[in-house]
């Protein structure tokens, strides 16, 4: 609802990005702070629609109009609560979600949509900054034990809900760190890993146990889990990339994103990698196929990034989104070959 006439008074405004000259020197997130007054004005643009398309357009059904209004009214604490009612980790979605809500926003029919995603992120960051988001261990324990296999967003959300319902929860992760895609699939500048750690800390405070390097079914027999736990949640996710079976696919230098991103994230986390498997783009021309979340900023050396280093990036017309035809892909492959 915000302000009844808010959408007529205020225009859409997003926080500005840090200057490129600064950004190329680090891997931190790119948006600058946004003054509270401005954000509240953005919240005021929400029309509190009778049929909020944003709300049904949201994959987790965030009750967007409600928290837009709370932000407008400066009722931050309540906004934090309202936001968490449908979403365990708004600090992740507020950064990396493609925001179908904004595409569905009713205001978007004839004006720029409400900056829903930025509002979401700001609410949750305010929650952390104020210390409102802290461990909320359950008051009663059921005594039941649950194993969650996989520590990606789904596994973590399941773990948190189950823990809060009073069960003892242990999360198993085959990788060396907890977080799944959040940890290794999302580049640092989109989601700084401290954001993830902050949430894991809360969960530990609530009583969730995390076990990494435990590959269930391989290094850890399923039977062990069956013996120890009352229930098991499988939240392993899919690790199958979508391959492009086109001529030239077999050429060297063609990688799936998930071959590259974990390496890069590890570098950012200060790990030393086996140089043999390095995928580095320093001084190279790079073509990126796919307009999703990996299309991001292009990789360079790490750590620490040096000024001027990195690969030149150009948006290929097709890459901006939409379907790629076989022909256009062939053209791309051709370009790569050269």
């Amino acid at each position: 609802m915000g302000k009844t006439t808010g959408f007529m008074e205020f225009s859409r405004e997003m926080p500005s990005r840090r200057p490129v000259t600064e950004r190329v020197n680090d891997w931190f997130e790119i948006y600058q702070d946004f003054p509270e007054e401005k954000l509240r004005a953005q919240g005021a643009r929400c029309m509190d629609c009778g049929v909020p398309f944003c709300h049904s357009g949201c994959p987790v059904n965030n009750i967007i109009p409600d928290w837009n209004d709370l932000v407008y009214r400066g009722r931050w604490k309540e906004a934090v609560r309202q936001l968490h009612a449908t979403n365990n980790f708004p600090e992740f979605t507020g950064r990396i979600c493609p925001a179908p809500c904004e595409a569905a926003c009713v205001l978007g029919i004839n004006q720029p949509a409400v900056t829903i995603k930025n509002i979401e992120k700001t609410i949750v960051e305010r929650g952390f900054a104020e210390g409102w988001i802290k461990p909320e261990p359950p008051k009663f324990r059921t005594g039941k034990k649950v194993a969650v296999v996989g520590s990606g967003p789904a596994g973590l959300a399941a773990a948190q809900q189950l823990c809060r319902a009073g069960h003892w929860v242990t999360v198993y992760e085959k990788a060396d760190r907890i977080g799944g895609l959040l940890r290794y699939g999302i580049p640092q500048f989109k989601l700084e890993k401290r954001i993830l750690d902050r949430r894991l800390e809360q969960m530990e405070g609530e009583g969730v146990k995390f076990v990494s390097k435990a590959h269930v079914g391989h290094s850890l027999p399923v039977s062990d889990l069956q013996e120890q736990f009352d229930a098991i949640v499988l939240a392993g996710g899919s690790e199958q990339p979508r391959d492009l079976k086109i001529p030239g696919r077999e050429l060297k230098g063609i990688h799936f994103a998930m071959e590259y991103l974990p390496q890069q994230n590890k570098r950012c986390l200060g790990d030393t990698l086996d140089p043999a498997g390095d995928i580095l783009a320093n001084g190279k021309h790079v073509v990126i196929i796919g307009g999703g979340r990996y299309r991001c900023r292009l990789p360079g050396d790490c750590p620490p990034p040096k000024a001027g280093i990195g690969a030149p990036v150009r948006n290929h017309a097709h890459a901006a989104g939409g379907a790629l035809t076989a022909d256009s892909l062939a053209a791309v492959a051709d370009a790569v070959a050269h």
Partner: protein, 1531 residues
């Protein structure tokens, strides 16, 4: 109640028809000799009066059979002596014998049995039967239907046995006992035709001749009425207009004491309370006989009959008849600070005795010695009287019913709200209201009694301890009581901020409570009833003075006694108790008052059994508490915990109430609700409607405390303020809810049960809600227990802090986990895509989503199945879509509520396909009347006539194919509306004939329709202006709508529209959107059934609307009986509406429901979108028709046999629903048509206007001036309207040059004199006129002057009736006398001079000038927002007593401009009417000028930039210096 006889006449309840909902209204009157001189002349005059009131009655399918007429006279002794002599019956002296008129079964054996019973009762009661006389009647004088049901009519003569002495009053009492006993014994006998037995009168003083007659038939039918020996000093007459056409001889008036014009809205409650009181009735006058009178209210009677029963008891038990009237229909005393203390005390005392019988009522009454009439507190029926110099009084619903030469007239008056007019024929004089009331008030020291015995809550000692809030558990309890996020955000918070109910828009599209998957509060299963047509809703804001929330709690005592103890009650100013108030009551120990608290909780885990057990236990405890002497029972659900859930508060209340009624102890205690559940207006209304005295909503109160503690209330609103505002909002909402039903006091509303339940089963209703209608079966105690359990489980489910605190709700706005909505993101986008792409396939997908509600049941039609015929027809043979779309209409949405672009797009689309668009109530720009150059036409075919009459001029009316009278609107039936000043721009102001920036109010009622015969009058008015247009009447579904529709058909409407409850709105209180009215399926089916039973369907078209969304909806509507279909919400969606539900805020982001130019620019709808939609719908209808084997829509109308119940429904709630009442097909012969096959006879051929037009021909054709003269009578109605239509057709709103057509008239003009009179016409009448003169005046001039021969003073006598100049837009009117109630109501441009007005003068006026040269009634200028009135206040009473200062300033007339204007108008008045009053004022102008007060509306001042005055001007007091006039900021 089974009724089958031909005489009682009404068919038994069947399908959706229930005889309990029959209505009637009528014309009534009396003639009396003041000195009690008996003559035959009085009777002849009475019959003449009756004949001249014929147009107020009606006839049904048989034009020769009326709805009933009758007369009551004194016993004509000379005649009976003569007659009886020939029968060898010797009559004693007058007064020593009684005559009983009896209706008996025709079949001889049964008749003898009835006679036998009556005779034996007479003997057992110690009286003597003198003999019987066959009353000679002429069966040929009456209609076919009446003849078929005619009873055998005899007179019985009863005297005293030898040696028995009895005074006249004792004799009358004995006769009363005899009649009541005989009625009961016959009723309880086995006699087959026992229902035909009826005693119209049995008295030694009066006799009633009545029957199923038309007025002119009565003298021929009862031949003896023409015998010169039949004499009387008084004659009471009545002509009935009933909604039904079922032959009923008994329901004709007069009854034994009264004839009634109007309707008792609170009847159910009144009857129930009368019944509950029986156990404590006692009177020394009756002794043990009192029990023989039970039931006091005889079953099967109409509201008037029941009222007569109550009058009779109170009268026979010793009160005078005026006393009884003042007790049952009191004046509005609580809101009148100027009433004398002793009189107030009289009323207040009697209010603590019994609740008023509330509703519009003009009642003529007599005990055979005094005769008089009284009017309800709000003056909602007309009543006029003339007193002659030779001692004759003629009173009637209209003036002019009897020719009285002007020189013989001593005075002319009208019945005034709450006032009595009384003739005492024994004392030989007229007794003024003032004298009667003074006499009554001084009967007993009422004021002192009240002072000594009445308790006020403020005076009770402070409680030692008050419940505080418990923040730790509030969330759990909110959940247990089913609070949702929306309740807090959209209901409670707004009430705390604004002190009033929140407003919403666009209707509702969520499931009925009985179909919803979500647990519902029990409240949601009920729907509010509301007044339409047969009685008016009230405006609780502008007419607040008649409303009251005061209630009295405590033990009721014997109402037949007058003692101080009768007012030993606790007086509450309103029904909401704070925690402190409640503790005061809990600990009360004053007098007889003693309270106890009973727990209303049940063990959640035990489900239905637990709930049942808890209810039984609660009842047992209540019963015990009453026996132990407790007088206040507090039903409390405090103490909810993990084991115990609250019993739904309404259920707990109803259980106890019903039990105590059965145990006949209900009136000994007051029931008080202490509950966490009630939180919105509807909840409180239901609790009161089912008998609660007061309510402590502790959890709502705590919620505010909690919100405040958490800092969630806006600045400046503390918990205390919030609670105060909440209580204020609830109270205002309650008044609004009462007023929708036309009820003005809480006392009358309490227990009146004016609700219909949807989807509760009979077991539940009978056990707990006896008397409430629930027609579809459905949910029982098991489901209610389950719902309570669901909430309880939710409450105590362990939750983390980050869970949603409360359920999301989703009742008002769509939410993914909330309540289901038919219009949701998916359906809206599919629909919009389909019409934009022209894709029938996508439309089909949309329709499938709506139609297939098997997973989400939402509507009654979702439970229905359209059958397939064994003989389908090929689709090519089905009527083409382009024919079907002609049956489609778009809904009434005013230009004002939606933008010009949207309004015109709809009009263009409908004109292109031959359907009809509707103007709504905001007028229409005249540049739309001619087609555009490209062939498109922006004119709306349907012109709406709504309560505010915005833009309704003669020219508007002639530019229409259909004129639709909006009686109610689905989203807010029974309510008015308001267009705030900021929305009124130049164009809207021009079209609505008002001033830009000035707010506009639509009153809740049409002020010219307070009853069914008034509606007939408006239909006649409109038909006169535009004889080619169809006249449609829009009703909203509720129980009894079918009966109203039957009345509408008899009132000669061409179309009746049955709207559903879910239709859209531009702005309406949320509780109205959600809780008033019922789905169209029920209303439409009922309408079809009742019209068929009456054989009235053939002459009226039936239309339906209310969220029709797909072809399936249309097909079902047709099968249920509709032949035309309306759509509003969905066409808006096709034009881009995305259900923002912000219409009321002017912020529609797609340019539809807004006047903001920037937003309007974003409108992207096109006529093609709309057209595509209608063709898609038609195409779908064709598919269904093919499947059912129908080639034309007409074949399909009313074929309910093609509908079946959806077999696959197995829903936990819906499985109990039984649709057989909706799918009922009344067994009528095939000659009874199921759709409209003939035109109405509007009776225009007798209109005087035919002659006017004939004489005006040169003026009409060549603008040549013409002049003509006629005599006029009250039967000449709507004079001038047809002529005005002719002028408008030729010359548009320009009309003719001033005075082109001059018409001189002499006599008493009928109703609607000069209605819609066009510019260029002057009607100059010497005589007087009835109600609605100058209605919709469109530029013409009305002059009414007192005949030169008249001897009375015009400024003290009435010259024109009620509701004069209603909705006038321009023109002039000069009245040489006093006008009735509501003079110049909603005037938007006429100039008028009058010499005095009744109550509510210039109400809702928005423009124009009114000069009142005399005294005003109360509440002048209520809701006036524009124009100026000048009042000549000689008596210095206007400022403080008569004017409603809420929206106007009162100033002296000092500006030269004002002085000139007033002087000019007074001079003109004198010139045109010869007014002596005007002359006297002019002659002493300088002295008189200070007595003039200028009534200047605030809003108008704001627009003009004139500062607000700080003081109200009182003539004769020193003027505040101009410098003291402070600049007030306008908000």
């Amino acid at each position: 109640m089974k009724r089958c006889s031909t005489m009682n006449g009404l068919p038994p309840a069947q399908g959706l028809y229930d005889p309990a909902y029959e209505h009637d209204a009528c014309g009534m009157g009396f003639v009396a000799s003041i000195r009690g001189h008996k003559s035959h002349d009085i009777i002849q005059k009475g019959i003449q009066v009756l004949i001249n009131l014929t147009h107020r009655g009606a006839c049904g399918c048989d034009p020769e059979t009326g709805d009933g007429a009758g007369i009551l006279i004194q016993i004509p002794h000379r005649f009976f002596e003569k007659e009886c002599a020939s029968l060898r019956i010797k009559l004693p002296k007058p007064g020593q014998y009684a005559v009983g008129m009896t209706f008996l079964p025709v079949e001889k054996h049964q008749r003898l049995q009835c006679e036998g019973i009556l005779e034996s009762v007479v003997k057992e009661e110690g009286l003597k039967v003198l003999g019987w006389r066959d009353t000679p009647v002429n069966g040929d004088a009456i209609g076919r239907v009446a003849r078929q049901s005619q009873p055998y009519i005899q007179q019985i003569f009863i005297g005293l046995p030898k040696g028995v002495q009895m005074d006249e009053d004792a004799f009358e009492r004995k006769l009363y006992v005899v009649r009541k006993r005989a009625e009961r014994e016959v009723r309880e006998s086995e006699i087959e035709d026992r229902e035909m037995f009826y005693i119209p009168s049995l008295s030694a003083r009066t006799i009633v001749y009545k029957g199923l007659l038309l007025a002119p038939q009565i003298a021929n039918f009862y031949g003896e009425l023409s015998d010169p020996d039949v004499t009387s000093a008084l004659c009471l007459v009545h002509q009935r207009f009933s909604t039904n056409t079922f032959p009923s001889w008994q329901l004709a008036h007069p009854y034994r004491y009264v004839a009634h014009n109007g309707e008792i809205n609170t009847l159910k409650g009144n009857v129930a309370w009368m019944h509950a009181r029986q156990s404590i009735l006692s009177s020394p006058l009756f002794g043990d006989d009192i029990k023989k009178l039970f039931p006091i209210i005889a079953p099967g009677g109409s509201d008037s009959a029941n009222f007569d029963n109550a009058v009779e008891l109170l009268f026979q038990a010793g009160r005078s008849i005026p006393h009884v009237m003042a007790m049952l229909i009191p004046e509005a005393w609580s809101g009148n600070p100027h009433m004398k203390t002793s009189k107030r005390a009289f009323y207040e005392y009697h209010c603590s005795l019994m609740e008023p019988w509330d509703g519009p009522a003009a009642i003529a009454f007599t005990d055979g010695r005094v005769i008089g009439a009284t009017l309800d507190r709000n003056g909602l029926r007309p009543g006029r009287y003339v007193v002659t110099h030779d001692g004759l009084v003629v009173a009637a619903s209209e003036v002019g019913v009897l020719d009285v030469p002007p020189e013989k007239v001593k005075s002319k008056g009208r019945l005034q709200p709450g006032k009595m007019f009384l003739v005492d024929t024994v004392a030989g004089r007229i007794i003024s209201d003032k004298e009667i009331k003074q006499q009554l008030a001084s009967r007993q020291p009422y004021a002192q009694w009240l002072k000594e015995k009445q308790i006020k809550i403020e005076k009770l000692p402070e409680p030692a301890r008050v419940h505080g809030g418990d923040h730790a558990t509030i969330l759990i309890r909110q959940r247990a009581f089913g609070y949702t996020d929306e309740d807090i955000r959209m209901i409670l918070e707004p009430m705390a901020k604004q002190g009033e109910e929140p407003v919403g828009s666009m209707g509702t599209d969520t499931p009925l409570a009985c179909l919803s998957d979500k647990p519902q509060p029990l409240f949601n299963y009920f729907k509010q009833l509301f007044a339409q047509v047969t009685n008016p809703p009230i405006d609780p804001i502008r007419e607040e003075m008649v409303m009251s929330l005061i209630s009295y709690i405590g033990t009721e005592r014997n109402i037949l006694e007058e003692t101080a103890d009768n007012c030993h009650t606790l007086r509450l100013e309103h029904p909401i108790l704070t925690n402190r108030d409640l503790e005061k009551l809990r600990r009360i120990s004053t007098g007889d008052l003693l309270a106890t608290t009973l727990p209303a909780l049940f063990r959640a885990a035990d489900g239905e059994a637990g709930l049942k057990r808890a209810l039984d236990e609660l009842c047992r405890q209540a019963s015990l508490a009453v026996k132990s002497g407790y007088t206040l029972l507090i039903l409390s659900d405090r103490g909810v915990d993990k084991d115990y859930a609250p019993i739904p508060s309404l259920l707990a209340l109803a259980a106890v109430h019903n039990l105590l009624v059965r145990e006949e102890t209900r009136t000994q205690v007051a029931l008080i609700i202490e509950s966490g559940e009630p939180r919105e207006v509807m909840h409180f209304a239901l609790l009161i409607g089912y008998g609660a005295s007061s309510i402590n909503p502790y959890l709502a109160i705590e919620t505010f405390e909690d919100l405040a503690a958490r800092g969630y209330l806006p600045d400046g609103i503390s918990a205390e303020v919030a609670i105060k505002k909440f209580i204020k909002a609830i109270n205002k909402g309650l008044l609004k809810t009462f007023s929708k039903m036309g009820i003005s006091t809480l006392q009358s509303y309490r227990g009146a049960q004016v609700f219909e339940a949807i989807g509760l089963n009979q077991d539940l209703v009978e056990a707990y809600f006896a008397g409430t209608t629930s027609r579809l079966e459905g949910v029982g105690l098991d489901v209610l227990a389950r719902e309570a359990q669901m909430k309880h489980e939710h409450a105590f489910r362990p939750v983390s802090e980050f869970d949603t605190e409360l359920s999301v709700g989703g009742q008002y706005h769509f939410r993914v986990d909330g309540e289901f909505h038919l219009l949701n993101p998916l359906t809206i986008s599919k629909l919009q895509h389909s019409v934009r792409e022209g894709s029938f396939k996508t439309f089909q997908e949309y329709a499938d989503l709506i139609d297939d509600q098997s997973r989400n049941l939402a509507t009654l039609r979702s439970l229905m199945k359209i059958q397939k015929s064994d003989e389908p027809v090929p689709i090519e043979e089905v009527e083409p879509a382009k024919e079907i779309v002609k049956r489609f209409n778009t809904g009434a949405m005013s230009f004002g509520s939606i933008s010009k672009e949207a309004h015109e797009t709809l009009a263009i689309a409908m004109n292109r396909i031959g359907g009809k668009s509707n103007t709504g109530e905001g007028g229409e720009d005249e540049d739309r009347y001619k087609p555009d150059a490209n062939g498109d036409w922006r004119r709306s075919a349907v012109k709406q006539v709504a309560s505010a009459r915005f833009g309704v001029t003669a020219n508007y009316l002639v530019n229409a194919e259909e004129l639709q009278i909006k009686m109610a609107q689905g989203a807010k039936p029974g309510e008015g509306g308001q267009l705030p000043g900021h929305k009124v721009d130049e164009v809207i102001a021009r079209l609505r004939h008002s001033t830009p920036g000035v707010g506009l109010i639509s009153p809740p009622p049409h002020h010219d329709i307070y009853s069914i015969e008034d509606l007939a009058q408006l239909i006649y008015d409109l038909k006169n202006v535009n004889p080619q247009a169809r006249i449609a009447v829009k009703l909203v579904s509720e129980i009894g709508v079918g009966t109203v529709a039957a009345g509408v058909s008899k009132a000669h409407a061409d179309v009746v529209l049955i709207s559903g409850d879910s239709g859209g709105t531009g702005a309406s209180p949320l509780s109205s959107i959600k809780h008033a009215g019922i789905p169209w399926e029920l209303g439409l089916a009922e309408t079809q059934q009742v019209l068929l039973l009456n054989d009235l369907r053939s002459r009226i078209k039936v239309q339906t609307d209310g969220k029709l969304m797909t072809g399936r909806d249309v097909a079902i509507a047709a099968l249920l009986g509709a032949e035309e279909f309306g759509f509003a919400t969905v066409p808006l969606v096709t034009m881009g509406c995305i259900m923002l539900r912000k219409c009321h805020l002017n912020t529609c982001s797609v340019g539809i429901a807004t006047q903001d130019p920037e937003l309007r620019a974003k409108f992207a709808g096109t006529p093609e979108h709309v057209i595509n939609f209608f063709f898609f719908i038609a195409e779908q209808v064709r598919q269904y028709m093919a499947q059912m084997g129908f080639r034309t829509v007409d074949e399909m109308v009313g074929r309910v046999d093609m509908l079946d119940v959806q077999p696959a429904v197995d829903h936990w709630k819906a499985r109990g629903i039984d649709l057989s009442a909706i799918l009922y097909n009344p067994p009528v012969p095939s000659r009874v048509a199921r759709c409209c096959v003939q035109a109405q006879d509007h009776g225009l051929q007798n209109a005087l206007d035919h002659r006017l037009i004939q004489y005006a021909y040169p003026a009409l054709e060549n603008r040549e001036p013409v002049e003509m003269s006629f005599q006029i009578r009250n039967v000449h109605r709507t004079v001038g309207a047809m002529l005005s239509g002719e002028i408008a057709r030729r010359y548009g709103s320009e009309g003719l040059p001033d005075d082109t057509i001059r018409v001189h008239l002499k006599g008493s003009a009928g109703q609607s004199f000069g209605a819609f009179l066009a510019k260029g016409v002057t009607l100059a009448l010497e005589g007087d006129a009835n109600d609605y003169a100058g209605k919709g005046l469109s530029g013409g001039r009305l002059v009414i002057s007192v005949p030169k021969k008249a001897g009375f003073a015009p400024e003290e006598n009435i010259i024109v009736g009620n509701v004069v100049l209603y909705g006038a837009t321009s023109g002039e009117a000069f009245f040489n006398g006093v006008a009735g109630e509501r003079f110049a109501v909603r005037n938007s441009g006429a100039t008028a001079v009058v010499e005095g007005v009744g109550d509510h003068g210039c109400e809702y006026m928005t423009k124009g000038v009114v000069v009142v040269l005399g005294s005003c009634g109360r509440n002048f200028a209520a809701g006036m927002s524009g124009g100026i009135a000048y009042v000549f206040d000689e008596r210095r009473e206007f400022t403080e007593e008569r004017c409603n200062l809420a929206s106007v300033d009162l100033e002296p007339v000092i500006e030269a401009e004002d002085v000139e204007l007033v002087k000019g108008l007074v001079a003109r008045h004198h010139e045109l009417t010869g007014s002596k009053r005007a002359k006297a004022v002019l002659d002493n102008w300088q002295e008189m000028l200070p007595s003039f007060i200028k009534v200047f509306p605030h809003e108008f001042k704001r627009v003009l930039g004139v500062p607000r005055a700080t003081h109200a001007y009182i003539p004769g007091q020193p003027l505040p210096h101009v410098a003291e006039l402070e600049q007030v900021t306008h908000g």
